[in-house]
Symmetry: C2
Subunit: 78 residues, 2 copies
């Protein structure tokens, strides 16, 4: 089972992307986790380490994909 992690920050762009993308991922191939970096601030560093520069972003099997643009990671830190 591969891992799909959707990082977001609760913004409108994020919520829209979450609903469509998480629903579209094949549950037979991917275990999906949704991480709200606004509340789970202790995971911002993990997201950055995976190459996430803005949210919403989906990390598929270790590879980061930025989907549209909601907020930058640096804005979430301030």
């Amino acid at each position: 089972m591969k891992r799909a992690t959707f990082y977001h920050a609760g913004c409108p762009v994020c919520v829209s992307a979450e609903q469509q993308f998480v629903d579209a991922i094949d549950p037979g191939k991917y275990e999906v986790e949704i991480v709200h970096l606004g509340t789970a601030r202790n995971r911002i560093e993990e997201a950055e380490g995976l190459g996430v520069q803005s949210v919403p972003a989906m990390v598929l099997d270790g590879q980061p994909f930025h989907i549209n643009f909601g907020a930058s990671i640096s804005d979430l830190k301030s």
Copy 2:
């Protein structure tokens, strides 16, 4: 069956996103079509009409999502 259309232009960013995303989409929910706008130039207008501003982009059930950034639609026209 919902429709997922992946628009790209053959760029390295596009190919990487295509391999991961198209593979991750649930085939039980979505019928996936891949459109290379560099060769299928007659479909650029269709992509723009769906709100696609850059490639690679995935339109899920009519809603456009821009994934990372490879090239803008206006660059493909020139």
